[in-house]
């Protein structure tokens, strides 16, 4: 054994921790389990694992637990955890990295509606360049199948003219080009060279 050159020499990193480091540039091994992230998380009450537990599971390489958790889909991205972490672990970014990894590995999202919202929103941005809420809402309902939800609120908003009836198309071509180039680059990166 002999000399210890770095923290990684004494604490071997799990495969999942390494993937998170490569994909999102966040080193979960810096976590010393103070629990500040869990204490400040406004959504921890609804999660199956508190943020500190999820980070620990990532360190241990418990891929199944992390990627099937509700926690990663219930993160509201308020960034209270990231802000308060004394070790500067970007916990909110870990939640994103885990969502992206789960989708990449074909794992069914534990909270399907959240994933559907992301897809519906991005489809709207890709098509129109800007988010067009009524179109996005229809697309979300088609994905979730929950047609009755918020109908009353939608009608109240329509009456108040809060919803924009037609999409803007300025910048739609610019957005499409960006989406296409990102997709191409991500495809190239995931293919074994």
């Amino acid at each position: 054994m002999g000399d210890v050159q770095s923290a990684t020499a004494v604490a071997p990193s799990s495969g999942l921790a390494r993937t998170i480091l490569e994909d999102a540039a966040v080193e979960v091994n810096l976590c010393y389990q103070c629990g500040k992230c869990a204490a400040g998380c406004p959504v921890a009450y609804a999660m199956d694992y508190a943020p500190a537990q999820l980070i620990h599971a990532a360190r241990l390489g418990l891929d199944d637990l992390v990627l099937n958790s509700k926690t990663i889909w219930l993160c509201a991205a308020c960034e209270t955890c990231t802000t308060r972490c004394p070790q500067e672990v970007d916990i909110a970014k870990v939640m994103d990295a885990a969502k992206i990894l789960a989708v990449k590995r074909g794992i069914k999202p534990s909270i399907g509606a959240v994933r559907s919202f992301h897809q519906a929103a991005l489809a709207s941005i890709r098509r129109f360049g800007r988010m067009w809420e009524p179109g996005m809402l229809v697309s979300l309902k088609l994905r979730t199948g929950d047609y009755a939800k918020d109908m009353d609120l939608g009608l109240r908003m329509l009456r108040k003219r809060k919803l924009k009836l037609f999409p803007a198309l300025k910048g739609s071509r610019r957005a499409r080009r960006i989406f296409a180039r990102v997709a191409k680059m991500e495809k190239e990166a995931s293919e074994p060279s």
Partner: protein, 300 residues
């Protein structure tokens, strides 16, 4: 002073009152806004949850449009856009590898010359606060406003570098300069549940409900916001929360710019107040005769 202006999607749709009222107060303060031609969505929450590269490329594409306009300062009122644009700038400027990747994705490489500012930052400049006090001539002293900043104006502080992240004061400072009383309270930067409004609505009922509870408990009769999503949750979900908690809030939710405009005597009809689901008439609409206030009484 002239700024490139990025309204973002919400200010062109559900949050158009924010856009209207910001545009209404700017000329009075000598601020000129030039909307960025052909801007696109910043990607907001959905982009960063789906692709790290896309989440940077969308804001950076807009920053490079500002460079194309040969301008170097932009204002961004929406808290989420502000967060994403700041991130786009900072992450690409501090990581050359990432910058190279992002610049291959956008139409025009970003040089990194744009300063991204929130209207509150601009308004908090000393000379500007003086102008706010001078132009705010309508007496709104009956208002007791809880300033709600939400998550992303200040978080994460490493990227946002805006105000004090646990207890910001910029909105309070600006409204106080306009002669409006703001209250001291603990929920300034608590999360409202954000984009879960459409999917995990129970979370929004809880988090937004707690914010409304607290505002009521400290005796506020209105809440001021700087984020269209915070506005949507606090305003459009308020009735449902009242039903669930069996209590009445009746708390109008204003964009801070609407309150400033009212203080400046800009007619309420020009500020999109009719779009709010929680009525604002009782608190401000009945005052047809603008009552002037003594400017001297608020300059400290």
């Amino acid at each position: 002073m002239k700024y490139a202006y990025y309204p973002g999607c919400s200010l062109h749709s559900t949050g158009s009152e924010f856009d209207l009222s910001l545009r209404a107060i700017c000329p009075q303060l000598g601020i000129e806004l030039e909307e960025i031609r052909g801007w696109i969505c910043c990607g907001s929450t959905p982009a960063h949850a789906v692709s790290g590269l896309l989440a940077l490329a969308l804001p950076v594409a807009n920053l490079s449009l500002v460079e194309e306009m040969e301008m170097d300062e932009m204002v961004v009122p929406c808290a989420s856009c502000f967060r994403r644009l700041k991130s786009g700038h900072q992450e690409t400027m501090t990581d050359p590898g990432l910058r190279e990747k992002v610049n291959r994705v956008v139409d025009r490489p970003y040089e990194g010359t744009v300063e991204i500012r929130h209207p509150l930052e601009v308004l908090c400049e000393r000379s500007m606060l003086g102008r706010v006090a001078e132009t705010a001539t309508v007496d709104l002293s009956h208002l007791k406003v809880a300033c709600y900043y939400g998550c992303l104006l200040t978080r994460p502080p490493k990227i946002m570098q805006f105000d004090r992240h646990e207890y910001p004061m910029s909105m309070d400072t600006v409204l106080r300069a306009a002669g409006i009383t703001t209250v001291d309270w603990d929920f300034k930067t608590m999360c409202c549940g954000a984009a879960f409004s459409l999917t995990e609505t129970d979370i929004v009922y809880k988090l937004t409900g707690d914010i409304l509870d607290e505002a009521q408990a400290v005796g506020a009769n209105a809440i001021a916001v700087a984020c269209p999503l915070c506005h949507a949750n606090l305003d459009t979900r308020q009735r449902e929360i009242e039903e669930r908690r069996e209590k009445e809030y009746g708390l109008p939710i204003f964009y801070f710019t609407q309150l400033m405009a009212l203080a400046m005597g800009i007619p309420a009809t020009e500020l999109g107040l009719a779009k709010h689901l929680v009525e604002t008439d009782e608190l401000i609409g009945s005052r047809t005769e603008p009552q002037t206030r003594s400017v001297a009484s608020v300059t400290h």
